[in-house]
């Protein structure tokens, strides 16, 4: 443990946040004490990283590897069962991607010109739908003569790879009709052997991206000789952002993106799986704030222990409204309620955690 890390832990222990204890001995029922009456913000951040964020990174790698394996199985034996299994694995990876998208910093976003996340999800950069680009690219790869090896896919631009390209490859034919009927999709592979090479090239490339992110979090971040996890928990981020600020800003930016780009009606339009992905993202938000079964100190715990129950209630209310909109498949209400939660990440949550997100000189001077 570095000195800075020890110091942080010591400070965290020194400024333990005591739970609310009332001296009122009247007839009113005893105020309910927090489950954990002594919570540390630093511990909550540590646990959010180790119990929520890092596992999310690891799950995405595992899900992309599963998709890659399913692509191999399908290509070895193309039938409706293997196709269905591969499509399920794509859905799983896509959903997990939306969970991971809440943490779009560190290894996912460590190069300003070629950030990793764009090679996984091209829509995220500026909301541009590159479906026609990937369709053209797939058709060209199938009919072309280039060697479809790792280097070929590693050199493709972000608009031509990632989950969108795989969605087209997995769910529809490469013909102009773009049929999604399983028999047509299988026939497309049977009659065009290079399509399997292309599929496996794309899935392998996605695994490489996911592995880069996982290695960055756990082994070495760029050329620092340290994992991003350690740098993050030590507060040694290059751009000077405090770790908790980074988490909250990243969540807020993703919620803003979901609204601003109307992601529910622009993403995953072949598989029709955007609603499920956004549902998973909201599950992840709750997990981040509440923790899991291993969590002893969560961000909500800290907020409640410092008397900010109203802020917690406001966040829970926003999440409930999002869940209702998701259940109703109500696009307009979804955008509105995502806006509420976006606002919670800008105000109630940082205010409750006494976090300064900065002036952000964005008002025209």
């Amino acid at each position: 443990m570095s000195f800075a890390r020890k110091l942080l832990s010591l400070l965290g222990a020194t400024v333990l946040l005591a739970g609310c204890v009332s001296d009122d001995k009247g007839s009113d029922p005893e105020p309910e004490l927090p489950v954990n009456p002594v919570v540390s913000l630093q511990s909550a951040i540590d646990q959010a990283v180790d119990y929520v964020i890092v596992p999310s990174v690891q799950r995405f790698l595992a899900d992309t590897e599963a998709l890659d394996a399913a692509a191999t199985t399908f290509c070895d034996s193309p039938d409706e069962e293997s196709l269905s299994a591969m499509q399920d694995d794509w859905r799983t990876a896509f959903v997990q991607w939306f969970r991971l998208s809440l943490y779009n910093f560190g290894p996912l976003n460590d190069d300003i010109v070629f950030p990793q996340y764009t090679f996984i999800d091209s829509l995220r950069l500026r909301g541009t739908d590159y479906l026609e680009t990937v369709r053209s690219e797939i058709a060209a790869d199938i009919t072309g003569s280039d060697s479809l090896d790792d280097a070929y896919f590693g050199n493709k631009t972000f608009q031509r790879v990632g989950l969108l390209a795989l969605e087209s490859a997995v769910f529809e034919t490469s013909t102009p009709e773009h049929s999604t009927t399983p028999a047509d999709v299988i026939a497309d592979y049977l009659f065009q052997p290079r399509k399997c090479e292309m599929l496996q090239g794309l899935s392998g490339e996605l695994v490489q991206r996911a592995r880069y992110v996982e290695q960055g979090w756990l082994v070495e971040h760029i050329d620092s000789d340290l994992s991003y996890r350690l740098l993050f928990l030590d507060g040694q981020l290059d751009d000077g952002t405090e770790p908790l600020s980074q988490i909250l800003i990243s969540n807020q930016e993703f919620l803003d993106y979901l609204q601003a780009r109307r992601v529910v009606v622009t993403a995953a339009q072949i598989s029709m799986h955007a609603w499920e992905a956004i549902t998973a993202a909201i599950d992840e938000v709750e997990l981040l704030l509440n923790g899991n079964e291993n969590t002893t100190d969560s961000l909500f715990d800290v907020m409640e222990a410092t008397g900010n129950q109203n802020a917690v209630a406001a966040v829970e209310d926003s999440i409930a409204q999002i869940r209702q909109a998701l259940a109703d498949r109500d696009v307009d209400m979804l955008e509105i309620s995502l806006g509420y939660l976006d606002g919670n990440f800008k105000r109630e949550i940082p205010d409750s955690l006494e976090l300064d997100l900065g002036i952000n000189f964005s008002d025209g001077d």
């Binding site: 300003i112 500026r126 900065g358 000189f361 025209g364 001077d365």
Partner: protein, 382 residues
């Protein structure tokens, strides 16, 4: 020092001001009276609320901040051309006050306010001989920009000219000493409607060259994108102007990436500076400050929305590099150190080598409780 502690100290200083008949004494612990000669200071408006808005400064390499309460949110800070230890801090739109602070003592040694019906835009500049101080102002009723000329000692108004545009922002003097360059933002706002732009459909931003003796318009340039608002600028020793823009995206009706940085070489047309799409997009339509380093011929542009400072070579027009810093906006040049200095709203200051653009990490300063505002000034030692 915590934000609360700083606030209390500043409030105390405010109290001292009341007792002292308008002049505020610097009473902050750690404040040192020192000879000005040979001392470089990094100075900026700072604070985040009415009870702690002030002027803050630090000496490079020393993590001891000094601050004077001003009572208004400042914007740019200018080194006084005749009194080297003094700086002038100009209030942000739609503020009306400016103060001269002697950094050697922390005392406010001069001040002025706009005429009724006017407000400032946070910027000003001195004449070559230092006798005159120019500010950009708004004639609120007319909705027109003005350049107001003041005596640099008494701050009495000497003259009052049109800025030849709407919403004039930064103003600088060219090296010839005879020509002012003004960034007319083109955007009309009024104090009674807050900071809301009122003329997006018809806005016309321009880089206007004005005769510094008469106020006559000498030349006027616009960029092709009509919704790009030229706000900030700096001038190289050869007269090349580097300018920074903010795009009014909601009025453009498109999602195309628009260059936000440009240069104007004497007797040429404007040149926009290009960057890879990912970097241009990262700026999020907003650059808040620009500084030119004459030694390296590099201009630095800071985007707080993008958490990014981007640098271009003035001669080749090629991007030279970038540096990520959360909420970065202040950018200035330290000539003795051959460095760009960056500041942000978290009280951080960073120094980058002006040629390699590599950060000198050992020179990092972070002053807890300080909130550096849009612009940073590096004072020249004398």
């Amino acid at each position: 020092m915590s934000k609360t502690t700083l606030s209390l100290l500043l409030q105390r200083r405010h109290l001292l001001a009341g007792l002292g008949g308008g002049l505020l004494m610097a009473a902050m612990p750690g404040f040192a009276r020192q000879a000005v000669t040979g001392t470089e200071r990094w100075v900026s408006a700072q604070g985040d609320s009415l009870d702690n808005f002030g002027l803050g400064w630090v000496e490079p390499g020393k993590a001891i901040g000094n601050s004077t309460f001003t009572g208004f949110r400042g914007h740019a800070v200018l080194q006084h051309a005749r009194r080297a230890s003094s700086v002038v801090t100009v209030s942000r739109r739609p503020g009306t006050r400016a103060l001269e602070v002697d950094l050697a003592t922390g005392e406010i040694v001069g001040q002025f306010a706009c005429s009724p019906g006017r407000h400032l835009f946070g910027h000003g500049c001195f004449s070559l001989d230092g006798a005159v101080f120019y500010t950009t102002e708004a004639d609120i009723a007319a909705g027109q920009g003005r350049v107001v000329v003041r005596d640099a000692d008494s701050y009495a108004v000497l003259d009052d000219w049109p800025s030849h545009g709407v919403g004039p922002h930064e103003i600088r003097l060219l090296p010839d000493g005879k020509t002012l360059v003004v960034a007319n933002s083109g955007i009309l706002t009024r104090p009674d409607s807050g900071r809301k732009p009122l003329n997006l459909a018809t806005m016309r931003s321009s880089l206007s060259y004005i005769d510094a003796a008469s106020g006559a318009l000498l030349d006027d340039y616009q960029v092709a994108e009509s919704k790009s608002s030229i706000r900030h600028l700096d001038v190289a020793a050869d007269g090349t102007v580097a300018f920074a823009m903010q795009l009014q995206r909601e009025a453009t009706g498109h999602e195309r990436t628009v260059p936000l940085a440009g240069i104007h070489r004497p007797a040429e047309q404007l040149t926009l500076l290009n960057a890879p799409a990912a970097i241009a997009d990262s700026l999020q339509d907003y650059i808040g400050s620009v500084a030119v380093c004459d030694d390296s011929r590099i201009a630095g542009f800071a985007s707080p929305r993008g958490n990014l400072a981007v640098f271009w070579n003035l001669d080749s027009g090629e991007m030279a590099g970038y540096h990520r810093l959360r909420d970065v906006c202040g950018i200035a040049v330290s000539s003795p150190s051959r460095a760009f200095v960056l500041s942000n709203s978290f009280g951080e200051l960073r120094e980058l080598d002006a040629v390699s653009l590599k950060e000198r990490r050992e020179r990092r300063i972070k002053l807890p409780g300080y909130r550096w505002d849009n612009h940073l000034l590096v004072t020249h030692p004398v």
